[in-house]
C-alpha cells in the first residue's frame, strides 16, 4: 500500500533520509525503529507530502499524497499529538478536519468514543494531558476510516492501560486488512505489536524483515545445553566451528548454530543431554546489535 523508492531527503549538508526503498503491506503492523535522529519522522513527513523529497518517490496506493482526493479517507496519520490549536476543543478540531474531507459529522462522535475521550471532547486542547492529546491525535487519524494508518510514537505519555489499548488497536486495525506503520523507541512494545520491522539508522535502511526473522537472526539468540559432559561437547562444537561459552560446570551456550545442529552433534558424539533449548534474543538486544554503528547522538560512556 505504501511504497518508497530510493527516497532521499537532505537538509543542508545532512542526509536525513538516504536512498530508502520499502514496501509496506496491508494487513500487517510494520514497526519502524531507529535511534533518535535516524529519520523516522522525516520519512513519515515525506510520505505525507509535508516535506518535499530531494530524491526518489513515496507513493500510497500508487499515488503521491497530494494526488489523493480527500486524503484523510485513505491515509490517517498521527505525527505530533500537540499539533492542535490549544484554544480549540477536541470535538471542534475533529469537526473541522471532517468537513475538509467530506467525512460525515457522526464519525466525530464515533472516533471520540473509540479512543475513550468522549467525556473530554469539549475541553480545550491546551488543557489536555499528553496521554489525552495522543488519544485525540489517534481519533483524528481514524476519522476517515482509512486503509493506511501511520503513527509516530503513539504510546508516548500513555499510562499502562493506554499502552495496552494502543497495542490492541494496532493489532485490530491490521486484522481488518489495513496497512499500519508505527514508529516507536519502546522495543518491548514493538516486540508485542509488530509483525514486520523496518529499522533505519542515519537515514539508511538497516533491516526490513519479519519480526521473527530479526529475532532469530540475532547473534544473541543462542542454544543452551546442560550436560554432565559439557566440556567434551564444547570441544566437539568448537571443532565444528560453533562459538561456545562455558556458563558453568555442566552448562554451555552455543551461538551461531541451530538447536537441531547442536542436538545432532551431541548425538553423534554419544553425549547425554539434560537440557537443550534456545534462548531467544529480545528485540531490545537484536536492535542494539543492529544499530550499534548508527547511533546519531550516542554517549561515549
Amino acid at each position: 500500500m505504501i511504497s518508497l523508492k530510493n527516497l532521499g531527503k537532505r537538509y543542508g549538508d545532512r542526509l536525513a533520509v538516504d536512498d530508502l526503498t520499502l514496501e509496506l503491506k496491508p494487513g500487517t503492523v510494520t514497526g519502524f525503529l531507529g535511534p533518535n535522529g535516524a529519520g523516522k519522522s522525516t520519512t513519515m513527513r515525506l510520505i505525507l507530502g509535508l516535506d518535499r523529497p530531494t530524491s526518489g518517490t513515496a507513493l500510497i496506493g500508487g499515488l503521491p499524497y497530494h494526488r489523493i482526493g480527500n486524503p484523510l479517507r485513505t491515509v490517517g496519520a498521527l505525527l505530533d499529538a500537540r499539533a492542535v490549536h490549544p484554544g480549540r476543543s477536541g470535538r471542534a478540531h475533529l469537526t473541522a478536519l471532517a468537513r475538509s474531507n467530506g467525512i460525515p459529522q457522526r464519525r466525530v462522535g464515533e472516533v471520540l468514543e473509540t479512543v475513550g475521550m468522549a467525556a473530554a471532547a469539549r475541553k480545550r486542547a491546551g488543557t489536555l494531558s499528553l496521554g489525552m492529546s495522543q488519544r485525540l491525535g489517534i481519533a483524528a487519524a481514524l476519522l476517515g476510516d482509512p486503509a493506511v494508518l501511520m503513527f509516530d510514537e503513539p504510546v508516548n505519555g500513555l499510562d499502562p492501560d493506554g499502552v495496552r489499548w494502543v497495542r490492541g488497536l494496532m493489532r485490530s486495525l491490521a486484522a481488518e486488512g489495513r496497512t499500519v506503520f508505527v514508529s516507536s523507541h519502546l522495543m518491548s512494545e514493538m516486540q508485542l505489536t509488530a509483525d514486520h520491522l523496518v529499522v533505519i539508522g542515519k537515514g539508511r535502511l538497516i533491516m526490513d524483515a519479519p519480526l521473527a526473522d530479526v529475532l532469530a537472526g540475532s547473534s544473541l539468540t543462542a542454544v543452551l545445553v546442560r550436560s554432565p559432559h559439557a566440556g567434551d561437547l564444547a570441544d566437539r562444537l568448537r571443532a565444528a566451528g560453533i562459538r561456545v561459552d562455558r556458563l558453568g560446570e555442566n552448562e554451555i551456550e552455543a551461538t551461531g548454530a541451530s538447536i537441531e545442529r547442536v542436538g545432532d552433534l551431541a548425538h553423534e558424539a554419544g553425549i547425554r543431554l539434560h537440557e537443550l533449548r534456545t534462548r531467544e534474543a529480545s528485540l531490545e538486544q537484536a536492535y542494539q546489535e543492529l544499530t550499534s554503528g548508527s547511533v546519531e547522538y550516542g554517549a561515549n560512556a
Partner: protein, 263 residues
C-alpha cells in the same frame, strides 16, 4: 470546486472555534465606536467653529477615518487565522487534510474575507449610530447628519477595505509564518512606511507612499482625511485597484512560500 468548498467549510469551523476570533471582533467594535465618536467630536467642533452655512458632518465619515486604527484589531484576527497554525504545528494536520497548498491559502482568504466585510459593515453601522446619537445634539451645533445613501456607501466601502486588508494579511502570514513577523510587515505596509516617508518630506516618495494599502483604502472610501492634509491625487476606483493589487501580491508571495517550503 467541491474540494475548495469543503476546505472553506473547514476553515470556517476553525475560525469560530477559538476565542481569539470573538475577542478581536469585540475589540474592533469597541475601538470603532470610541475612535469614531472621538474623531466625530473633533469634526463637529471644527464645523461649529467654521460655522459656515450648509456645513455638515456625515455621521459615517469619522467612522471611515477611524479605520486607520480599527484595521489593526481586524488584522490581528486575519493574522491569527494563519499564524496560529504555525505556532501550534497544526499546519501539518491542515496540509494532511488538504495537501494542495494553494487551496488551503485560498480557503483561508475566502473564509476570513467575508467575515471581515461583515465586521466592517456591522461595527461601522454601530459606530455610525453612536456618532449620530452622541453628536447630533445641539451642543455640537447639529451639524452631524445621517444621509442614508452616503452612509450606506461608506459602510460598504469599509467592509471591502477590511476584507482586502485581511486577505493581504493572510498572504503575508503565509509568507512570514510567524505572528511577530506578520504583524511587523503588515504594520509597516499599512502605517509604518507611509509615516516614515511623510517625515522625509520628499514629494516623489510621498506621492508613491499614497499608493500603499491604507491610503489606497482611504481614497477608495472617499475620505478627505489623509495624513498629508491635501486631497488624494487619484480616484476612488484607482484606490480600489491599488488595494486589490496589494492583496494579490501578498497572497502570491504567501503561495510561493507555502508551496516551496517544507511544512
Amino acid at each position: 470546486m467541491r474540494a475548495l468548498g469543503r476546505t472553506i467549510g473547514s476553515e470556517w469551523a476553525k475560525l469560530w472555534s477559538v476565542r481569539s476570533t470573538w475577542w478581536c471582533l469585540a475589540c474592533a467594535l469597541v475601538l470603532n465606536v470610541l475612535a469614531s465618536v472621538t474623531l466625530g467630536g473633533a469634526a463637529a467642533t471644527e464645523a461649529m467653529r467654521a460655522g459656515a452655512a450648509g456645513t455638515r458632518v456625515v455621521a459615517s465619515s469619522p467612522v471611515v477615518s477611524a479605520s486607520s486604527f480599527v484595521q489593526f484589531a481586524l488584522v490581528a484576527l486575519a493574522m491569527l487565522a494563519i499564524t496560529s497554525e504555525y505556532t501550534s504545528g497544526g499546519i501539518r494536520v491542515t496540509l494532511q487534510a488538504t495537501p494542495v497548498r494553494g487551496m488551503v491559502l485560498a480557503a483561508k482568504a475566502l473564509a476570513v474575507g467575508p467575515v471581515m466585510f461583515a465586521a466592517g459593515v456591522l461595527t461601522g453601522a454601530v459606530a455610525t449610530a453612536a456618532v449620530h446619537l452622541v453628536l447630533s445634539v445641539d451642543a455640537f451645533g447639529g451639524f452631524v447628519v445621517l444621509p442614508f445613501g452616503e452612509v450606506l456607501s461608506d459602510l460598504v466601502g469599509m467592509g471591502v477595505f477590511y476584507a482586502l486588508v485581511s486577505v493581504m494579511t493572510v498572504g503575508v502570514g503565509a509568507a512570514a509564518r510567524s505572528a511577530a513577523g506578520t504583524l511587523t510587515v503588515v504594520f509597516m505596509l499599512l502605517m509604518g512606511v507611509p509615516l516614515m516617508v511623510l517625515m522625509t518630506g520628499s514629494p516623489a516618495l510621498v506621492e508613491a507612499s499614497l499608493r500603499m494599502p491604507m491610503f489606497a483604502g482611504l481614497a477608495f472610501m472617499g475620505s478627505a482625511d489623509n495624513l498629508t492634509g491635501g486631497p488624494m491625487p487619484y480616484s476612488a476606483g484607482e484606490g480600489l485597484a491599488w488595494l486589490l493589487a496589494w492583496a494579490a501580491v501578498a497572497v502570491a508571495a504567501g503561495h510561493v512560500v507555502l508551496r516551496r517550503r517544507d511544512a
